[in-house]
Symmetry: C2
Subunit: 160 residues, 2 copies
Amino acid sequence: MTDRDRPEVHMQRAIALSRMHMEAGDGGPFGAVVVRQGIVVGEGWNRVTSANDPTAHAEIMAIRDACRRLETFTLAGCDLYTSCEPCPMCLAATYWARIDRLYFANTRDDAASIGFDDAFLYGEIGKPLSVQAMPIQRILGAEARVVFDAWMAKDDKIPY
Amino acid sequence: MTDRDRPEVHMQRAIALSRMHMEAGDGGPFGAVVVRQGIVVGEGWNRVTSANDPTAHAEIMAIRDACRRLETFTLAGCDLYTSCEPCPMCLAATYWARIDRLYFANTRDDAASIGFDDAFLYGEIGKPLSVQAMPIQRILGAEARVVFDAWMAKDDKIPY
Protein backbone atom coordinates (compact mmCIF):
# COMPACT_ATOMS: atom_id res chain seq x y z
CA MET A 1 0.00 0.00 0.00
CA THR A 2 1.46 3.35 -0.94
CA ASP A 3 1.28 6.50 1.10
CA ARG A 4 -1.27 8.03 -1.23
CA ASP A 5 -3.70 5.28 -0.31
CA ARG A 6 -3.89 6.63 3.25
CA PRO A 7 -3.68 10.42 3.17
CA GLU A 8 -6.03 10.67 6.17
CA VAL A 9 -3.29 9.51 8.54
CA HIS A 10 -1.04 12.40 7.60
CA MET A 11 -3.86 14.91 7.63
CA GLN A 12 -4.77 13.82 11.13
CA ARG A 13 -1.20 14.66 12.17
CA ALA A 14 -1.50 18.10 10.55
CA ILE A 15 -4.78 18.70 12.38
CA ALA A 16 -3.28 17.48 15.67
CA LEU A 17 -0.41 19.97 15.26
CA SER A 18 -2.91 22.76 14.59
CA ARG A 19 -4.71 22.03 17.84
CA MET A 20 -1.66 21.37 20.00
CA HIS A 21 0.19 24.56 19.07
CA MET A 22 -2.90 26.74 19.11
CA GLU A 23 -3.51 25.55 22.68
CA ALA A 24 0.13 26.23 23.53
CA GLY A 25 -0.29 29.84 22.36
CA ASP A 26 2.15 29.59 19.45
CA GLY A 27 -0.21 31.26 16.97
CA GLY A 28 -3.29 30.59 14.85
CA PRO A 29 -4.91 27.12 14.51
CA PHE A 30 -2.90 25.81 11.57
CA GLY A 31 -0.68 22.74 11.14
CA ALA A 32 1.10 21.07 8.22
CA VAL A 33 3.34 18.11 7.43
CA VAL A 34 5.59 17.20 4.51
CA VAL A 35 5.60 13.51 3.60
CA ARG A 36 7.99 11.59 1.37
CA GLN A 37 7.34 7.94 0.56
CA GLY A 38 5.03 7.55 3.54
CA ILE A 39 7.42 9.15 6.04
CA VAL A 40 6.88 12.54 7.67
CA VAL A 41 10.01 14.57 6.81
CA GLY A 42 8.84 17.97 8.03
CA GLU A 43 6.33 19.48 10.44
CA GLY A 44 5.11 23.03 10.90
CA TRP A 45 2.57 25.08 12.77
CA ASN A 46 1.63 28.72 12.86
CA ARG A 47 4.11 30.79 14.89
CA VAL A 48 3.29 34.31 13.65
CA THR A 49 2.63 35.90 17.03
CA SER A 50 5.05 33.86 19.17
CA ALA A 51 8.03 34.10 16.78
CA ASN A 52 7.29 37.66 15.62
CA ASP A 53 7.28 36.46 12.03
CA PRO A 54 4.30 37.20 9.75
CA THR A 55 5.63 34.58 7.29
CA ALA A 56 5.63 31.79 9.91
CA HIS A 57 2.55 30.03 8.56
CA ALA A 58 2.28 26.27 9.08
CA GLU A 59 3.06 25.37 5.46
CA ILE A 60 6.12 27.64 5.29
CA MET A 61 7.43 26.20 8.54
CA ALA A 62 6.84 22.60 7.38
CA ILE A 63 8.62 23.26 4.07
CA ARG A 64 11.54 24.89 5.84
CA ASP A 65 11.73 22.04 8.35
CA ALA A 66 11.73 19.39 5.62
CA CYS A 67 14.38 21.19 3.60
CA ARG A 68 16.58 21.56 6.66
CA ARG A 69 16.25 17.88 7.55
CA LEU A 70 16.75 16.66 3.98
CA GLU A 71 19.45 19.24 3.21
CA THR A 72 17.85 20.30 -0.04
CA PHE A 73 16.01 23.25 -1.52
CA THR A 74 13.63 21.13 -3.56
CA LEU A 75 10.90 18.85 -2.24
CA ALA A 76 10.05 17.14 -5.53
CA GLY A 77 8.72 13.72 -4.60
CA CYS A 78 7.06 15.04 -1.44
CA ASP A 79 3.42 15.79 -0.61
CA LEU A 80 2.20 18.58 1.68
CA TYR A 81 -0.72 18.13 4.07
CA THR A 82 -2.15 21.27 5.64
CA SER A 83 -5.05 21.65 8.03
CA CYS A 84 -6.34 24.65 6.02
CA GLU A 85 -6.30 25.60 2.35
CA PRO A 86 -3.07 27.55 1.87
CA CYS A 87 -3.14 31.34 1.56
CA PRO A 88 -1.53 32.68 -1.65
CA MET A 89 1.84 33.03 0.14
CA CYS A 90 1.85 29.38 1.12
CA LEU A 91 0.42 28.09 -2.15
CA ALA A 92 3.20 29.87 -4.03
CA ALA A 93 5.77 28.51 -1.55
CA THR A 94 4.45 25.02 -2.30
CA TYR A 95 5.16 25.58 -6.00
CA TRP A 96 8.61 27.03 -5.31
CA ALA A 97 9.39 23.96 -3.18
CA ARG A 98 8.31 21.70 -6.10
CA ILE A 99 5.84 19.79 -3.90
CA ASP A 100 4.13 17.00 -5.89
CA ARG A 101 0.67 17.05 -4.39
CA LEU A 102 -1.26 19.12 -1.87
CA TYR A 103 -3.95 18.02 0.59
CA PHE A 104 -5.96 20.48 2.69
CA ALA A 105 -8.88 20.26 5.14
CA ASN A 106 -10.45 23.61 6.15
CA THR A 107 -11.19 25.99 3.25
CA ARG A 108 -10.35 29.66 2.70
CA ASP A 109 -13.98 30.42 3.59
CA ASP A 110 -13.58 28.56 6.88
CA ALA A 111 -10.49 30.73 7.48
CA ALA A 112 -12.43 33.89 6.68
CA SER A 113 -15.17 32.86 9.10
CA ILE A 114 -12.70 32.84 12.00
CA GLY A 115 -11.09 36.15 11.05
CA PHE A 116 -8.22 35.38 8.65
CA ASP A 117 -7.67 37.37 5.46
CA ASP A 118 -7.02 34.58 2.99
CA ALA A 119 -10.05 35.30 0.81
CA PHE A 120 -9.19 39.01 0.65
CA LEU A 121 -5.60 38.14 -0.28
CA TYR A 122 -6.63 35.82 -3.10
CA GLY A 123 -8.60 38.75 -4.52
CA GLU A 124 -5.68 41.16 -4.32
CA ILE A 125 -2.93 38.87 -5.61
CA GLY A 126 -4.81 38.29 -8.85
CA LYS A 127 -5.22 41.99 -9.63
CA PRO A 128 -2.91 44.16 -11.73
CA LEU A 129 -0.37 46.00 -9.58
CA SER A 130 -1.94 49.38 -10.37
CA VAL A 131 -5.19 48.52 -8.59
CA GLN A 132 -3.88 46.57 -5.59
CA ALA A 133 -5.04 47.68 -2.14
CA MET A 134 -1.39 48.44 -1.28
CA PRO A 135 0.21 51.29 -3.26
CA ILE A 136 2.93 49.84 -5.52
CA GLN A 137 5.40 51.83 -7.58
CA ARG A 138 8.20 50.93 -9.98
CA ILE A 139 11.50 52.84 -9.81
CA LEU A 140 15.11 52.32 -11.02
CA GLY A 141 14.28 49.47 -13.40
CA ALA A 142 17.35 50.09 -15.55
CA GLU A 143 19.76 50.02 -12.60
CA ALA A 144 18.34 46.72 -11.38
CA ARG A 145 18.31 45.12 -14.82
CA VAL A 146 22.12 45.36 -14.94
CA VAL A 147 22.32 42.90 -12.03
CA PHE A 148 20.01 40.45 -13.81
CA ASP A 149 22.32 40.59 -16.82
CA ALA A 150 25.26 39.86 -14.50
CA TRP A 151 23.38 36.79 -13.20
CA MET A 152 22.90 35.55 -16.77
CA ALA A 153 26.63 35.93 -17.38
CA LYS A 154 27.64 34.25 -14.12
CA ASP A 155 29.42 30.95 -14.81
CA ASP A 156 28.96 29.22 -11.45
CA LYS A 157 25.32 30.01 -10.68
CA ILE A 158 23.02 27.38 -9.16
CA PRO A 159 19.62 27.50 -10.89
CA TYR A 160 16.48 26.74 -8.86
CA MET B 1 12.14 66.03 3.55
CA THR B 2 10.39 62.77 4.22
CA ASP B 3 11.67 59.38 3.27
CA ARG B 4 9.09 59.05 0.50
CA ASP B 5 10.68 62.02 -1.24
CA ARG B 6 13.81 59.94 -1.85
CA PRO B 7 12.84 56.33 -2.52
CA GLU B 8 15.77 55.96 -4.93
CA VAL B 9 18.27 55.89 -2.07
CA HIS B 10 16.64 52.84 -0.51
CA MET B 11 16.15 51.10 -3.84
CA GLN B 12 19.84 51.54 -4.56
CA ARG B 13 20.56 49.69 -1.32
CA ALA B 14 18.20 46.86 -2.36
CA ILE B 15 19.93 46.64 -5.74
CA ALA B 16 23.36 46.69 -4.08
CA LEU B 17 22.32 43.78 -1.85
CA SER B 18 21.11 41.86 -4.90
CA ARG B 19 24.50 42.21 -6.58
CA MET B 20 26.67 41.65 -3.50
CA HIS B 21 24.98 38.43 -2.41
CA MET B 22 24.61 37.07 -5.93
CA GLU B 23 28.34 37.52 -6.35
CA ALA B 24 28.92 35.83 -2.98
CA GLY B 25 26.98 32.79 -4.18
CA ASP B 26 24.13 33.14 -1.68
CA GLY B 27 21.41 32.66 -4.30
CA GLY B 28 19.60 34.49 -7.10
CA PRO B 29 20.07 38.21 -7.85
CA PHE B 30 17.46 39.66 -5.52
CA GLY B 31 17.69 42.15 -2.63
CA ALA B 32 15.19 43.99 -0.44
CA VAL B 33 15.04 46.47 2.44
CA VAL B 34 12.33 47.49 4.91
CA VAL B 35 12.29 51.18 5.80
CA ARG B 36 10.51 52.98 8.64
CA GLN B 37 10.58 56.76 8.87
CA GLY B 38 13.60 56.96 6.62
CA ILE B 39 15.62 54.34 8.50
CA VAL B 40 16.44 50.86 7.16
CA VAL B 41 15.05 48.43 9.76
CA GLY B 42 15.48 45.19 7.81
CA GLU B 43 17.56 43.79 4.96
CA GLY B 44 17.24 40.61 2.94
CA TRP B 45 18.63 38.81 -0.07
CA ASN B 46 17.92 35.56 -1.81
CA ARG B 47 19.37 32.58 0.06
CA VAL B 48 17.37 29.72 -1.50
CA THR B 49 20.32 27.61 -2.59
CA SER B 50 22.79 28.49 0.17
CA ALA B 51 20.33 28.12 3.08
CA ASN B 52 18.40 25.19 1.57
CA ASP B 53 15.19 27.17 1.92
CA PRO B 54 12.87 27.66 -1.07
CA THR B 55 11.06 30.39 0.89
CA ALA B 56 14.24 32.43 1.46
CA HIS B 57 13.40 35.12 -1.09
CA ALA B 58 14.80 38.60 -0.51
CA GLU B 59 11.47 40.12 0.54
CA ILE B 60 10.68 37.32 3.01
CA MET B 61 14.15 37.63 4.53
CA ALA B 62 13.85 41.43 4.82
CA ILE B 63 10.43 41.16 6.48
CA ARG B 64 11.70 38.54 8.92
CA ASP B 65 14.78 40.61 9.67
CA ALA B 66 12.74 43.76 10.34
CA CYS B 67 10.29 41.90 12.57
CA ARG B 68 13.13 40.35 14.54
CA ARG B 69 14.85 43.70 15.04
CA LEU B 70 11.64 45.56 15.91
CA GLU B 71 10.23 42.66 17.96
CA THR B 72 6.85 42.78 16.26
CA PHE B 73 4.77 40.75 13.81
CA THR B 74 3.36 43.78 12.04
CA LEU B 75 5.24 46.26 9.88
CA ALA B 76 2.46 48.83 9.54
CA GLY B 77 4.19 52.16 9.02
CA CYS B 78 7.00 50.56 7.00
CA ASP B 79 7.74 50.49 3.27
CA LEU B 80 9.36 47.61 1.37
CA TYR B 81 11.87 48.16 -1.42
CA THR B 82 12.70 45.16 -3.58
CA SER B 83 15.04 44.92 -6.55
CA CYS B 84 12.43 42.84 -8.44
CA GLU B 85 8.63 42.76 -8.53
CA PRO B 86 7.63 40.28 -5.82
CA CYS B 87 6.45 36.80 -6.75
CA PRO B 88 2.98 35.90 -5.40
CA MET B 89 4.55 34.38 -2.26
CA CYS B 90 6.35 37.60 -1.43
CA LEU B 91 3.50 39.90 -2.45
CA ALA B 92 1.18 38.01 -0.10
CA ALA B 93 3.84 38.14 2.64
CA THR B 94 3.94 41.92 2.20
CA TYR B 95 0.20 42.08 2.84
CA TRP B 96 0.43 39.76 5.86
CA ALA B 97 3.18 42.00 7.26
CA ARG B 98 0.89 45.06 6.81
CA ILE B 99 3.53 46.92 4.80
CA ASP B 100 2.30 50.41 3.81
CA ARG B 101 3.85 50.79 0.39
CA LEU B 102 5.88 48.71 -2.02
CA TYR B 103 8.60 49.79 -4.44
CA PHE B 104 10.13 47.45 -7.02
CA ALA B 105 12.65 47.76 -9.87
CA ASN B 106 12.90 44.74 -12.21
CA THR B 107 9.55 43.32 -13.39
CA ARG B 108 8.15 39.78 -13.41
CA ASP B 109 8.95 39.69 -17.12
CA ASP B 110 12.57 40.60 -16.40
CA ALA B 111 12.57 37.70 -13.90
CA ALA B 112 11.12 35.33 -16.50
CA SER B 113 13.78 36.40 -18.98
CA ILE B 114 16.54 35.17 -16.66
CA GLY B 115 14.81 31.89 -15.85
CA PHE B 116 12.57 32.51 -12.82
CA ASP B 117 8.99 31.23 -12.66
CA ASP B 118 7.21 34.28 -11.29
CA ALA B 119 5.01 34.81 -14.35
CA PHE B 120 3.98 31.12 -14.36
CA LEU B 121 3.18 31.34 -10.65
CA TYR B 122 1.00 34.42 -11.05
CA GLY B 123 -1.00 32.43 -13.59
CA GLU B 124 -1.46 29.43 -11.31
CA ILE B 125 -2.26 31.27 -8.06
CA GLY B 126 -5.21 33.00 -9.70
CA LYS B 127 -6.82 29.76 -10.93
CA PRO B 128 -9.42 27.66 -9.12
CA LEU B 129 -7.82 24.84 -7.13
CA SER B 130 -9.33 22.20 -9.40
CA VAL B 131 -7.31 23.34 -12.42
CA GLN B 132 -3.97 24.20 -10.77
CA ALA B 133 -0.84 22.62 -12.24
CA MET B 134 -0.28 20.87 -8.89
CA PRO B 135 -2.90 18.26 -7.91
CA ILE B 136 -4.85 19.53 -4.89
CA GLN B 137 -7.37 17.54 -2.91
CA ARG B 138 -9.59 18.30 0.13
CA ILE B 139 -9.95 15.70 2.89
CA LEU B 140 -11.12 15.65 6.54
CA GLY B 141 -12.75 19.07 6.45
CA ALA B 142 -15.07 18.28 9.35
CA GLU B 143 -12.23 17.13 11.64
CA ALA B 144 -10.25 20.28 10.97
CA ARG B 145 -13.22 22.60 11.41
CA VAL B 146 -13.50 21.53 15.06
CA VAL B 147 -10.11 23.14 15.73
CA PHE B 148 -11.23 26.39 14.11
CA ASP B 149 -14.24 26.42 16.39
CA ALA B 150 -11.90 25.89 19.35
CA TRP B 151 -9.89 28.92 18.20
CA MET B 152 -13.05 31.04 18.12
CA ALA B 153 -13.84 29.96 21.67
CA LYS B 154 -10.29 30.58 22.97
CA ASP B 155 -10.26 33.45 25.47
CA ASP B 156 -6.59 34.42 25.32
CA LYS B 157 -5.93 34.32 21.57
CA ILE B 158 -3.79 36.97 19.90
CA PRO B 159 -5.41 38.07 16.60
CA TYR B 160 -3.17 39.05 13.69
